[in-house]
């Protein structure tokens, strides 16, 4: 072969450079030169021998991908691209996660201030963090949908049982990856969600000595601290991604080996024709599938970037505090069902049931051996699946604070109006509009104070939801007709409870006041004062408490309230 100088002498500079470029492109793509790529993009027929097959044989990245698919599985149905999107999300999380790792040290001394540093000192730091956190939530959804569609189209059946089994483990790993990242900001949300979760280990149906040691390993110490944070960090950035990566290749190898199952109606019952693709039903990876995958990647990127910027904001609560438990600790939404179960049944039963359920999922295809994948032949299986999903949805709801063990009614009002964590309508009132003084729930301060009025209206709603009347409402700014009548119940010990259809042990005719005072330049103290006299003996108080929160002019709770995932 001629050297480059020889080529220049032979063809002139221009032609030689073109020829050289062509050669380089062909080497990089492992088989396609410039005109092959242009032809593929134009949608032309390939030349013979087909250069679009060579990358599958010669290149590292494409040798794992099939060179063609059955046209039937390349449409949106039956795959909905969920498997591809799961892989995309894993790569997305890896990239954004590595960027975040640069700015993070897994130590309780600095982890939380690292978070604020990412938000306040790293250009685009908040965006990257939001993208990582949003990506984690989306990945859980995508992986779960992938499993759901695999079940519905019967693709777990022979010969793909093992693929299904690895898929279940991948689902668990995805949940664990997402959850292990939960602890890293070292804020109250993280600390208590994880504390509650791993305390489950203590209740496992095993000898106490095993449970205690498992808990010790998970916490790194008798309580969650520096050791625990470091090992959850290592789980999150090392062990789990590694295991997920390895299992992904096992999973995908099986997918390629067996081929993707056709839509159930497209083949005879009991047949598996995925690997026997007639010439006229082939869709080639290059260019069709590759284009499609690139398009989905671009669309997904657009969605995640725009979502992280405008729709959704990763939460950051106050510093983890082992001695203060927030009132309603919640699991992340994708584990909410387990919290729901804990309200239904004994802890040991629940903790034992979850692994049993997993094993049942994994072995299910080996026992459910009905030959047909068609929907009409699987009425029982599909019905059970939908019942299970309904059960999970209800369990999820039961895990949320909507369905909770209520604390005292004044406390319920307080944490709604002045929450320990995050923003509320009152905290998000613009600082200029905050007025020093004492205010009644539902008070109208005129048109100059629209946000404060709204917050006071919210306070009125919260008070109404947690109280009732025995005929003498004390808050004059709430319409008398809005109070619900108390059902007075006398308990066995002679005490009285004041209930309504919506709650028990409420405040009978409370007097509630919001006090706002400046304690420092640009710092307000907001105090909710509750006086609830005993209806039978007005000189005694059933409840006489107050609840304090502070609001600094620069705290910027207004910003937090702009996002779809914030409740104010």
């Amino acid at each position: 072969m001629a050297t480059f100088p020889e080529q220049i002498r032979e063809m002139g500079v221009k032609q030689a450079v073109i020829a050289k470029a062509d050669e380089v492109v062909e080497r990089v793509t492992a088989g396609m030169n410039i005109s092959d790529i242009r032809a593929a993009l134009r949608g032309d027929e390939p030349r013979r021998p087909n250069p679009r097959l060579r990358p599958h044989a010669d290149s590292f990245w494409l040798h794992i991908r099939p060179s063609f698919y059955h046209t039937e599985v390349t449409h949106i149905y039956p795959t909905f691209r969920m498997g591809w999107l799961s892989t995309f999300m894993f790569v997305w999380e890896t990239i954004t996660g590595i960027i975040l790792m640069i700015f993070y040290t897994p130590s309780p001394l600095v982890a939380y201030s690292n978070m604020w540093n990412i938000l306040s000192n790293v250009p685009l730091g908040q965006l990257i963090r939001n993208m990582h956190r949003l990506g984690a939530e989306v990945m859980v959804i995508v992986v779960a949908m992938h499993m759901l569609r695999t079940f519905i189209t019967g693709s777990y059946k022979k010969p793909r049982q093992f693929t299904w089994a690895t898929g279940i483990i991948l689902l668990v790993l995805t949940l664990m990856l997402s959850f292990s990242g939960y602890l890293l900001p070292w804020d109250q949300l993280a600390y208590w969600a994880l504390t509650v979760f791993i305390s489950g280990a203590e209740a496992a149906p095993a000898p106490a000595i095993i449970n205690q040691n498992v808990l010790l390993i998970l916490q790194g110490a008798p309580s969650l601290g520096a050791g625990g944070l470091l090992r959850w960090y290592l789980l999150h950035v090392l062990l789990m991604p590694l295991m997920l990566g390895i299992l992904f290749f096992v999973h995908y190898y099986k997918v390629v080996l067996h081929g993707m199952s056709l839509p159930p109606g497209r083949e005879e019952i009991g047949e598996d024709t995925a690997k026997r693709v007639p010439k006229n039903e082939r869709t080639y990876f290059i260019p069709d599938l590759l284009t499609s995958e690139l398009m989905w990647s671009a669309l997904m990127t657009l969605f995640l970037v725009a979502g992280a910027l405008w729709l959704w904001d990763a939460p950051l609560e106050t510093h983890a505090n082992p001695v203060v438990t927030p009132l309603h600790v919640v699991a992340p939404w994708y584990l909410s069902w387990s919290q729901g179960w804990l309200k239904l049944a004994d802890k040991t039963l629940v903790v034992g049931f979850i692994p049993a359920l997993l094993v049942a999922f994994i072995v299910m295809p080996y026992f459910e051996v009905g030959k047909s994948r068609r929907y009409a032949d699987r009425r029982v299986g599909l019905s059970v699946a939908f019942l299970f999903m309904a059960f999970m949805l209800v369990s999820n709801w039961m895990g949320t604070p909507e369905y909770r063990v209520a604390s005292s009614p004044d406390r319920e009002v307080s944490i709604e109006i002045l929450p320990q964590e995050g923003a509320s309508t009152l905290l998000a009132v613009p600082y200029d509009e905050m007025l020093e003084g004492s205010f009644l729930p539902g008070q109208d301060l005129g048109e100059n104070y629209p946000h404060l009025n709204e917050a006071l209206a919210d306070l009125a709603h919260a008070v109404l939801a947690n109280s009732c009347t025995v005929g003498a409402p004390k808050i004059t700014t709430i319409e008398a007709s809005e109070w619900k009548e108390c059902d007075v119940v006398t308990l066995e010990n002679g005490d009285k409870q004041y209930n309504t259809t919506f709650g028990n042990d409420l405040m009978p005719d409370p007097y509630v006041l919001l006090e706002i005072e400046e304690v420092q330049p640009k710092l307000l103290r907001l105090t909710l004062v509750y006086d609830v006299p005993e209806p039978d003996n007005p000189n005694e108080f059933r409840i006489q408490t107050s609840w304090t929160a502070y609001r600094h002019a620069d705290s910027n709770y207004e910003e937090e309230c702009r996002y779809a995932n914030k409740n104010c």
Binding site: Q126, M295, A306, K522, A553
Partner: protein, 287 residues
């Protein structure tokens, strides 16, 4: 396929535009978050101050109005004022000079909270030194204390009364003492925080000696010195004379009271020396 290429290309371009938009607003966003971080530290510091510091340093940090956390009764403030010009004003405040502190002001406050002040009622607060607070909580408290520094607080011209050498000269200027007012001041200056109630139980076990019998004893301390002059000097220059036995053991040398700096606090306006006369009247040292 062409449609997919178009959709993909447009998506990619939109993503780039959005990222460009995000990059443009970054400087102001970073600034907002820097302020928000500080604001929330101050909020948390305020909560900690309320729960941990208020009993000794007073409701507004002026060490004038202190309440017992359990009973709600007003008590003497055992702590020093924090909402206080000589502590907060100037990069190197008067207090830092008095305490020979050569570092920064936030570090001074942080160090004082963390390790406490030995021999006084101020305990160690940092978990590192056996206290209850985490490092981040100490930082929040520092931010809260520094937030008291305002132009209003620091614009008042610094005034220091030139204390005369003898009590007689002071009395020439402030002849009348008010025992009732002195009783109040004995609490608000925090005297009772360490020395107890002079009208109460003599078996006081605080940081400093009980002063109920000061009127009889003061004159016997130093040969040739009147009781009035002895107390006068002891308040202004605590290290001049130190008694040997305090209720909880040998008294500290140098005196723990030195950090109270009554020389400055009772002399930062032209009228304030009256406070000392009132207190001495209350204790029965002056008629």
């Amino acid at each position: 396929m062409q449609v997919k290429i178009v959709i993909g290309t447009i998506s990619l371009m939109l993503t780039m535009i959005i990222l460009g938009f995000a990059a443009l607003r970054e400087p102001s966003r970073l600034e907002d978050f820097t302020l928000a971080r500080q604001g929330r530290q101050i909020e948390n510091g305020a909560e900690l101050f309320q729960s941990q510091c208020m009993t000794c340093h007073g409701v507004n940090g002026k060490a004038e109005e202190c309440y017992d956390a359990a009973t709600g009764e007003q008590i003497g403030c055992a702590g020093l004022p924090l909402n206080y010009g000589p502590l907060l004003c100037e990069d190197t405040s008067q207090r830092m000079i008095n305490m020979n502190w050569e570092g920064s002001k936030p570090a001074f406050i942080q160090a004082t909270i963390s390790s406490g002040r030995y021999g006084t009622a101020m305990p160690t607060w940092a978990a590192d030194f056996g206290g209850p607070l985490r490092p981040d909580e100490i930082e929040d408290l520092v931010q809260f204390v520094l937030n008291w520094e305002t132009e209003e607080l620091c614009s008042a011209p610094a005034f220091q009364y030139e204390w005369p050498a003898t009590i007689e000269e002071l009395l020439a200027e402030f002849p009348e003492g008010d025992a009732a007012r002195g009783k109040e001041l004995y609490v608000t200056y925090g005297c009772s925080g360490c020395h107890g109630d002079p009208e109460g139980d003599s078996a006081w076990a605080g940081t400093g000696p009980w002063q109920g019998h000061l009127a009889e004893e003061a004159g016997t301390r130093i040969e040739g010195m009147s009781g009035q002059q002895y107390v006068y000097e002891s308040v202004l220059y605590p290290n001049n004379y130190i008694v040997e036995q305090c209720p909880t053991g040998p008294c500290n040398t140098p005196s723990a009271m030195a950090s109270n700096n009554f020389y400055a606090r009772m002399g930062d306006t032209a009228e304030k020396p009256q406070d000392l006369v009132d207190i001495m009247t209350y204790l029965g040292i002056l008629p």
